[in-house]
Amino acid sequence: MKQVRKGVVLRREDLHVFEVDPALMSRVPQDVTDIEQARIVKNRWEYLDWMHRHFAHKTVLLSEVTAAPSQGPGQAGH
């Protein structure tokens, strides 16, 4: 488990999903399994794609149209 910043850890490098530092969860049980966690992440991306399509026929990205970089600061490969 890697400490990413104060209060945030990276437990599953494979999935690259940030988690709250378990030390802060004394009042709330952490009972989501790894399978459920992966499912939530996948569902979220599918839902966000759905929301884009719901509001417009096409999603255009700034990096496609301008000289802006596709990746932002702090992201892998930046």
């Binding site: 988690e19 969860m25 049980p29 952490q30 499912r39 939530i40 992440v41 979220r44 759905w50």
Partner: protein
């Protein structure tokens, strides 16, 4: 009666042994209060328009948020358990709400804590039954009849009469090949399919046979137990489950093929709560298996099906287990078939109304849900709606008949496209 049953049947569902209602209430509130605040305090209600029951009642008290708010109201002395328990029958346990909840979808992975409304509803039903409130006589009879017939009383919804447990494998009688008992691969045939939609297990047996996959049946198959749990009788669910696990052990089962989503979620969600993982075989959902066989070239579609169809995502697969890709892959591989897809996220809001005992206790509202699902399919100008859940197929077929839309089963369609019905 099976000699494998390691426990005696629990007392009849409505029998004695009730606990004082205040004691049940306290335990229930203690167990669910934090979750309830997680919903009550946020109050955004993003679940609501996804909920199949709310979509037909438009009554805010039949919503997941109301189910959570009641827990807080009880804690604050504004109500008692018996004042609100009846509302918890207005749910098909489809799981759309807890998936759509931002507490799950947007931060469930970060906090590793998510909304669990399905569990809340099941537990409230169990609490009401434990307290002997007698709110749901049809569920009580249903579970009692299941105890007698060892399978659900699917042949008589009106009077809820037990089925004959000795006929659980009758569907296999007129197949052109024999299916042995026991073995490493077991085909588990759900109650609805074994007694009512017998065309489905026949199709599945033919597919496995044609693919050269050896398989057997259980010595004595009982209901998976899921519906008993959903109707608020966890002890009865466990009793049925123990029998099945013992039967698999006797058979030497390593892998169980499952053709019904409701069985599948019982096996992968409920059974691990009752038994250590190592005591359980691997559970394989037939649709996934067919997609795999297709990939490996072990089955082939030889017969074009000249139809325009759309697909109904079974709630438990799509909303609760995230399985929606395999059926689409299969449909796209069937020659001649024109497949008009409605994406699985849109279908978080779809349901047939058949799940969670809802159709047993609220048949009129369940019919409205099925009618709505068929109407949505009709808007696409398709000839048929394909489902992959035998429980959904009975109400959908009935609504489809009224609205002139054919309803097909995906695995039956696979057998047809494989030319196994000729």
């Amino acid at each position: 009666m099976s000699d494998e049953a390691r426990v005696t049947a629990p007392e009849t569902a409505g029998g004695n042994g009730h606990r004082p209602v205040r004691e049940v209430e306290q335990e229930f509130v203690r167990g669910h209060l934090l979750q309830a605040y997680g919903c009550f305090s946020s109050g955004h209600k993003f679940c609501r328009e996804v909920c199949p029951v709310y979509q037909v009642t438009r009554n805010e008290q039949h919503t997941p948020t109301a189910f959570h708010a009641n827990v807080v109201a009880i804690e604050k002395g504004a109500a008692h358990l018996e004042d609100v328990a009846e509302n918890y029958s207005y749910c098909t346990l489809c799981g759309g709400c807890e998936l759509r909840c931002p507490n799950t979808l947007f931060v469930g992975d970060f906090y590793r804590n998510r909304t669990r409304t399905v569990k809340l509803v099941q537990d409230m039903r169990a609490a009401a039954n434990q307290a002997g409130l007698g709110l749901w006589p049809r569920w009580q009879r249903w579970v009692e009849a299941t105890m007698v017939g060892k399978n659900e009383p699917v042949l008589d919804y009106e009077n809820i009469q037990p089925v004959d447990p000795n006929r659980v494998a009758d569907w296999a009688k007129d197949l052109p090949f024999e299916i042995p008992r026991g073995g490493e691969n077991i085909l588990f045939v759900d109650c609805e399919a074994a007694y009512y939609r017998t065309s489905l297990p026949k199709a599945v047996a033919k597919i496995l046979h044609a693919a050269g996959v050896p398989f057997g049946l259980m010595y004595e198959q009982w209901c998976c137990g899921g519906p008993s749990l959903e109707m608020g009788y966890p002890d009865h669910a466990r009793y049925l489950a123990e029998h099945n696990v013992a039967d698999w052990k006797k058979a030497g089962a390593k892998r169980v093929f499952v053709l019904d989503p409701h069985d599948y979620i019982s096996f992968v969600d409920m059974y691990p709560q009752f038994f250590p993982e190592e005591e359980l075989p691997e559970f394989v959902f037939m649709i996934d298996f067919v997609a795999e066989l297709l990939d490996q070239g072990k089955i082939r579609f030889v017969k074009p099906i000249e139809k325009t169809v759309t697909y109904h995502d079974p709630c438990r697969m799509n909303k609760r287990l995230g399985k929606w890709e395999a059926p689409r892959k299969i449909l796209r591989a069937i020659p001649g078939l024109t497949f008009i897809d409605v994406d699985h996220v849109t279908q978080w809001a779809y349901c047939s109304g058949a799940g969670g005992g809802f159709a047993v206790e609220h048949p009129d509202l369940a019919k409205k849900i099925a009618d709505l699902r068929i109407a949505r399919a009709k808007e696409l100008n398709v000839e048929a709606l394909v489902s992959a859940c035998p429980w959904s197929e009975r109400p959908l077929t009935s609504s489809g008949r009224e609205q002139q839309l054919e309803v097909l089963d995906l695995l039956e369609l696979v057998a047809e496209a494989m030319g196994l019905n000729d």
